[in-house]
Symmetry: D2
Amino acid sequence: MSFNTFGKLFRFTTWGESHGPAIGCVVDGCPPNIPLSQKDIQMDMNRRKPGKSKFTSQRKEADKVEILSGVFQGKTTGTPIAMIIYNKDAKSRDYETIKNKFRPGHADYTYFLKYGIRDYRGGGRQSARETASRVAAGAIAKTVLNKLIGKKFKVTGAVVQLGVLGCNKKNWNERIIKNNPFFCPDKKSLRLWEKYLLAVRKAGSSCGAIIEIRASGIPVGLGAPIYSKLDSDIASALMSINAVKGVNIGAGMNTAFLSGEDNSDEIRNIKGKAKFKSNNAGGILGGISSGQDIIASFAVKPTSSILNTRETINRKGRNTKISVRGRHDPCVGIRAVPIGEAMISCVLLDHYLMHKAQCS
Amino acid sequence: MSFNTFGKLFRFTTWGESHGPAIGCVVDGCPPNIPLSQKDIQMDMNRRKPGKSKFTSQRKEADKVEILSGVFQGKTTGTPIAMIIYNKDAKSRDYETIKNKFRPGHADYTYFLKYGIRDYRGGGRQSARETASRVAAGAIAKTVLNKLIGKKFKVTGAVVQLGVLGCNKKNWNERIIKNNPFFCPDKKSLRLWEKYLLAVRKAGSSCGAIIEIRASGIPVGLGAPIYSKLDSDIASALMSINAVKGVNIGAGMNTAFLSGEDNSDEIRNIKGKAKFKSNNAGGILGGISSGQDIIASFAVKPTSSILNTRETINRKGRNTKISVRGRHDPCVGIRAVPIGEAMISCVLLDHYLMHKAQCS
Amino acid sequence: MSFNTFGKLFRFTTWGESHGPAIGCVVDGCPPNIPLSQKDIQMDMNRRKPGKSKFTSQRKEADKVEILSGVFQGKTTGTPIAMIIYNKDAKSRDYETIKNKFRPGHADYTYFLKYGIRDYRGGGRQSARETASRVAAGAIAKTVLNKLIGKKFKVTGAVVQLGVLGCNKKNWNERIIKNNPFFCPDKKSLRLWEKYLLAVRKAGSSCGAIIEIRASGIPVGLGAPIYSKLDSDIASALMSINAVKGVNIGAGMNTAFLSGEDNSDEIRNIKGKAKFKSNNAGGILGGISSGQDIIASFAVKPTSSILNTRETINRKGRNTKISVRGRHDPCVGIRAVPIGEAMISCVLLDHYLMHKAQCS
Amino acid sequence: MSFNTFGKLFRFTTWGESHGPAIGCVVDGCPPNIPLSQKDIQMDMNRRKPGKSKFTSQRKEADKVEILSGVFQGKTTGTPIAMIIYNKDAKSRDYETIKNKFRPGHADYTYFLKYGIRDYRGGGRQSARETASRVAAGAIAKTVLNKLIGKKFKVTGAVVQLGVLGCNKKNWNERIIKNNPFFCPDKKSLRLWEKYLLAVRKAGSSCGAIIEIRASGIPVGLGAPIYSKLDSDIASALMSINAVKGVNIGAGMNTAFLSGEDNSDEIRNIKGKAKFKSNNAGGILGGISSGQDIIASFAVKPTSSILNTRETINRKGRNTKISVRGRHDPCVGIRAVPIGEAMISCVLLDHYLMHKAQCS
């Protein structure tokens, strides 16, 4: 079972509500003797945290991670690594509205009917705040993979579609991604995206996004057919992120439109190494990594909390209207980039360890 | 761990290779006292089996399921239900080609590099033949759900995109789906689809497809946040099917292009019942079923085994060419319809049982 | 996988080292809407904590539990319950000895060889301090069982053998158990036990113990054959407690000496209810609860840290001697009573939920 | 979850009823490229099978294992290994008695109350016939361990207590074990044991037994603290065997009577290697293997099916009597020897793979 636990050999368990005293996670199964410091983790935390630009929520959180166990004298010990992140800027002003009304597009209604009780403050457990814990776990996974596979391992995410606006993926540039508030990989798109997002926010509306994650330096052979295929686990991992509604591996949904010739990636021996002439498979064949870059993308729906008034019902089942004020991201998809990277890093490490167990 | 096991409380384990003596599966965690006969299962088996029309593989398999345990005097006993399906029409003529060459788009290369050994006959374990076991398990899940939830429970799949050809989903008709070889839901598309697929086959090529699965009669509250969200488990289930490269829940990838107003489904009290004005969420909010129809779709890539010649390498790493003869589906997506239904039925029953455990 | 996680549907994950900043646990799968307060948990914590009498370690720990999530307005919400216990009285004086030498009977040697690194301070992760987290989880399990099954549910443990001294189990008295520092159930044994244990301590030695746990009010039908039998899970639970080397269910090892007639418990209809004439089975038949009291016992080996000098090797593999000073329990078995109760409560709740899922 | 599945990385799932058409198991997670033949498995099957001497059940079963998948050209492929054993000598004469009456000491009562239905023929799923599948899985585990660890790996079991009769364990002789129908390790006990067991059988009674399993050649470091400790998993494995009521690791329950000095095993450097002066720990410290022999023992209660008349109730709850005729073992413990070996082999391989994953 895995209600709040993700992973098989490298596993993390998250806990905490948006407006409780703290959130946190416990990472289990981490290999021992890996150098690890709070700093390694904090770097990724900062990339996800809100309040960084006018394009994300204005909630001010330091999102400072504290390690409580599992690290001794700067190295992992193989025992569980517990991390805690205190909630600082949890404002209660907007409670009364969402306490009694179900926000359309949110899980207010389903949580209430499932459990008969819910911590409504800031969305409680259903809040995207939980994803901070994932980023912390993912930072550990990256650190371990960099140690086990070497520096050639790298995972990079970017927003490739911002609402109705795409970008030219051929211009993918990692330096650009790091230096714009949209994680946009294409310098030429920046200006238009900025104008567009400001207009969306001004209109009291929101927009969706598509995020693409690329992982390179992955060895051949990761993935455990049939029901722990690498792509199956990636799909599960990405779909578990708040607001995600679609997941593609490689050419994804578009493979439906291709012919067999156009889709399958031919193989060539180039200077003694197997090379593929294309990567429609996204680096995964039969659920097993092929040595090509792993490419996965996912769609994040537009923020459901918007200023514009919407119809809904309240706890008593009566018809009412709602307009959600407060601090929200006009496009939650933007902050999903480091989360997607984190989840894929965790899946890859998990399969790296599984492969080592069975096949080395 | 779950290499060849799917599910948590309702679980099935599959085994067997395409050209071995038999394939089969063991269903564990099935509730007791559910009337179940071989016939209940055979019906779904027949919908998946090859050789039914000129649009699917000409391999002739009776795909007759035998129940070996777990059923006594016509009822389940709560103990594991083992099922076996003998391989009958396993022809060996094409072995020599695929024994030494890696078919592009197939898992030949990755299986060989992962395990250092593989049963290449008919694709061995990587063959879609494994999915017959899933259909058997899914038929049991359906039977149990019909008993536990009642007759209002129903799951129906259809091909909604055949290669470059779509159909009008507004014409969705279950009777039509049952009576055409494409599982096409729209009568008006049938003729064009037939012509198209014959042309594809004649050209020695293949095409992809998009399959949509709709499940109705689902109670509110199924789904276990955070890492066993209903949509997360559906994504994992569908992505584990051979040749699937993308999964959508509800509006899926298209949510990226919508505004917050257009995407989130407003709620109304209609005659004392909560009703949603639309279903972009695909019946799932925060990973929990909302009581709306569950809608999921997935893309199946075009059959990789095609007559047209392609470039590849052989086991020794040398460049070579390959043209795969033999009995293949011009569009493997078609036979994926009952498989998708089966997987979603299993996920739903699993979550039904989990919900009963924690929240009833 | 379950390195640091116990349970299936009701699960807890523990973390933390003996002399780190804190220890804690995350309880997952707890049913919602169960009244739960810190106080409910603290009561059991106090029964386990050290420094209560001259017969236990003099380490002074308040062992105050803080709930960080999963409880809202005094009730569980169905989301994970994180608890933290800060380490207060962690003294470092004895570090240098155990840093470089492997204490016989301890896990110093095996942890070091397994992981290549270990937090040696106070035994680190291998310390019995971890069991405080189990008691916290167990207190929640008891609270839930009392709510779900009713007040008839009760679990009580006692020390029935203290080193070479037994007691008369026919005098089992719960009030007595609560009011002596040995959890001894037999008033007549108290004086002798006290003298004996003082002598053991004075001699710089230690002694073992046998603990018996009795759970009553258990419904028939809990237990999931074959590999999650109730007794199998109890055995795993009790054997996972530090220093436990043997586990019995009912008559346990003694069944080997009985005849078939003497061992199997005959059944009678007494006033319309099935009653057993004896309870050699310990309330479990075929891995399933029979409605009788669950009776399990386990042996705790004598404390390995003793004043008397012993032979061992150091980290460099050289022969040396060791005499472990510091604050130790002359009989660690005594404090194992609430831990055993906790583990059995968790197993029972887990199986209660599983049974509800499959068979209700 | 693991109703009918055992293990984590090396896992097997068993199915089948005593008088159904067949029983079987699916082994998953087996490393690839291990030479494996039906013969390797059959050897152990023959050691467990009934009808071999007058001291075991007269049911005549060939217990011939057929491998249906996962082995190709004499080697494992890393895919699931399905095995089937047909039931041949399933006689129905005794059905009517046990159909309506609950045999004391058996799981008839609890299965019926749990599931509301049961296959009563020959005990159905609760029959010890299921253990044939475990022996098959264990034979694979042994083969893999012999390949991975080398020939120094060995696991041997023996009956060390037959009812009221012990034996001198100092005379432990593997050749003797192989050549007597009791798996007795001490030549001097054979004659007395034979007389005793014949008397027990003649009296229409039965007796219990204690089995000891010794595994040598085990590397240091196997075991995953806290909740997958090696001893915890062994306890779970052995307690899951039919009729087992107690499990000891090393000195086991007897450690309760020892002093700290007498119990903890001192360590010495002998010619550059760490050696323990005794093995009360049974080769496990802190849940991790120490490199010493793993020693575990377990008690098997006396056969509950006996000729002598006993009191019980029937399905309608009415008082009645029962005398179980048919083919039974006077001491089921005898045939538990290869089963215990099998379970411990599976646990060891599982932990070997887990250790490789996390710590190599």
